[in-house]
Symmetry: C3
Subunit: 329 residues, 3 copies
């Protein structure tokens, strides 16, 4: 059974293969490559962009999707072994996941970090349970640990713009927000860029370090691809001559209240764009809060690629679903 | 870019063209005229009839639809320029609308009046933002100002029944309700009937005047088509010899508490139907509250056309979507 | 107009016909037998398994489905005649059901018992209204009285396992839960097994009797098929030599607080499985609360057929929808 819930599932070669297929099919549509296929989309957390882009992939490919909203007041799934189920979790993953597997050709799953215990979130219990009990391929639509389709869409945008990813300096910078956000998106940009051979620079205030397991995995990818990863608390230094400014808010490294998430001096604006290489571009996964996380001057300026980047969610997901359940080629 | 969010987008000629196509295709289905097309349906407010009829159009035509519920506890869209987005609106229309445009072939949007400021509602900020930022056609599934698909369905029912619309006397009458309702439906019946050349009579209690901008637009349509528009506070006089009794509750003209919405003497019953021309029919957009807004005697009687009228939502929307994104003919 | 909202709608011959078609098509898929058909799915109560399995039937068969969630904060439907609709029920079934009938080829409806008045629930007012006012076939996705698709899926699992249903001893046993549950599932297993000619044994604590109308209907089926129905308060006696242990929690027979639903001695475990015939199997409709309603030892053991049983929802619903609106064969 092949699953795709992390960049590790693809590795550097797999990342390159998906990016190349996505880029080729963006120029020339593959037609009904998912004819008669049915995707089960299981949402433990709400979504608009992810839902629209995955449903579009299935419809454009000749298949269809069933959307199941688990978290929306219906019932919760139990994933612990051996417990007496007398609380609010009315069904066990040991039943729910095999049953859903009988109705569809693949299961796409979205679940977020609970935000109470960073280490526990990192173990990704819901996504792990789907991998364990599904009898069809499982694809992540974002989990507590990673948002790998976003990472691939990010790198496709880089590859389209610069005709390469290997050896390219790219910068991921922390940005302010009204509340602590999960780390799935920064984790995935870091991991995918490293797997694509970029020289990744990560800038953040003290207290917002990414988890050591993720950093170690990124370093292993970089070692395999000739890329590199470095960390700094100096945003401007990290941007100097870089090809990409990727801005994203995320929560503190430690559990509990942690660092202040509204550090306004970290909001990128025109001055930060000026530090990039002359062809440098701006990326963000969206949604973004204008003038709090990112200045209008960037988003309304000529170097923002955020809409193309969001469109690329469609293209990488099309390639991924083809690899998992495609009927052609 | 062609959009359809108001009767003004069609004008009298466009209204006639849609009604004629809808009537022709009601007799003889066009088959897969929307083959492989994908409609994004964005709901800021809930819906059943509108959702079912638009999804049916896409499915019957060989295409499909993605339903996105924005208002349902997910996040709200910011539409103001230059603000610091630190409130509850987590994404700007400047990002959300172009991004959704990348996944689908057209965007259908439903948003209601906020009901706090009649003049502000009338400017229809959300629908305007979709028109400004979408890169695919936008179609209204009802907004603060108009419900143009309903207006077209109303007039298709009139045209089917009387084999004409020009010169026909039709009456829109205010009716009681438990709460003040938006004016989109009465506005659209008035505008579409005027654009179709009817002699439109509008009856309502004092204090429930429709907005001057809408009345001026209706008068311009009437002037162009040989129709006419007149207003009265005498319901029975407005019904005398008319071909149509269109009943609908709406809120007071002025902002704030305004007029009393439960004026029971305004509820149409059998006596009001007797004032019509002998072939006169009853219309209402549905849902309606029986025996509060309209008497059982009308709805259960032989002259009600409300179910046909609701079915006609399908037929006019099919013609509209064909004009916007059709692949055949 | 043919509807399917109870086992009585099929009768013993109809049950056999559906089971046989479902079993045949499980071995050899019928292809696009629902080409271009559109199913309206109306949920007054939430669902995952039912929604996924019905949508899968339509998609696999070449058709599609529109999902309408009535109960989810939108508005409620009035089903009483002649009332002044000034409460929270904003639309009457007399309008809603005929209108929905105009957009789709069949209506699938889910509604639960209100749980306040057992006798009133048993009259199934919402499902009855759909049968009365729909102009297309109505199919039950579970109502206050029955869950007939579940009953058919249960018996298909029995028939597949034992190559027969007639004359087979099968046992339905009450099981504990955290709260009183509706009786639709036990009613339907009883009715379908009796209609399939099984010797049905029903075991439950005193105070949890099924309704007399349902028991009378089951006895009439048994009389027609050579089956039988008996009731006992001795769980172990009911299981001795039986081919099936069907466990299910349900609420007390009397209205109001009634009997204690957490009687732990009634939870089936390994010891109960040992009482069955050596080839005996375990069934449950799911979801189930492990170690409260059913022990891990059963669900994780080799004789549980609950995942196959859930899969069979797809197969029987495919056969039913084919009978109602199929385009082939």
């Amino acid at each position: 059974m092949q699953h795709f819930t992390s960049i590790q599932d693809l590795g550097p070669e797999g990342v390159a293969r998906i990016l190349n297929l996505a880029e080729a099919w963006k120029r020339s549509s593959p037609g009904k490559h998912l004819a008669d296929k049915l995707l089960g989309m299981v949402f433990f957390n709400p979504s608009l962009r992810t839902r629209a882009s995955f449903e579009a992939v299935m419809a454009r490919g000749g298949g269809s999707a069933v959307v199941l909203e688990v978290g929306n007041g219906v019932w919760k799934l139990e994933d612990r072994d051996g417990v007496v189920m007398d609380g609010d979790r009315a069904e066990h993953v040991k039943e729910a996941v095999p049953v859903l597997s009988r109705y569809v050709d693949a299961l796409a799953v979205r679940t977020f970090a609970e935000g109470k215990d960073d280490a526990a979130d990192h173990l990704d219990p819901v996504m792990s349970a789907f991998r364990t009990y599904a009898t069809v391929p499982v694809i992540s639509m974002e989990s507590a640990r990673e948002h790998p389709c976003q990472g691939l869409a990010d790198l496709l945008t880089v590859q389209e713009t610069f005709q390469k990813t290997k050896g390219l300096p790219v910068t991921l910078t922390w940005a302010p927000h009204v509340k602590p956000l999960p780390k799935a998106v920064p984790n995935s940009f870091l991991l995918t860029a490293a797997a694509a051979g970029c020289h990744v620079r990560v800038a953040h205030p003290k207290g917002f370090e990414l988890r050591p397991e993720v950093r170690a995995e990124a370093e292993a990818f970089a070692a395999a691809t000739g890329g590199s990863v470095e960390y700094t608390n100096d945003q401007n230094a990290a941007l100097e001559g870089s090809a990409v400014l990727y801005a994203k808010a995320w929560g503190p490294a430690t559990d509990g209240p942690g660092g202040e998430v509204r550090q306004e001096s970290w909001m990128p604006g025109a001055a930060q764009m000026d530090l990039l290489d002359k062809d440098g571009i701006f990326l963000h996964c969206l949604p973004t809060r204008r003038n709090l996380e990112v200045a209008d001057a960037i988003l309304d300026g000529p170097r923002s690629r955020v809409v193309d980047e969001a469109e690329n969610r469609f293209h990488v997901q099309r390639a991924l679903l083809h690899q998992l359940i495609g009927t052609k080629g």
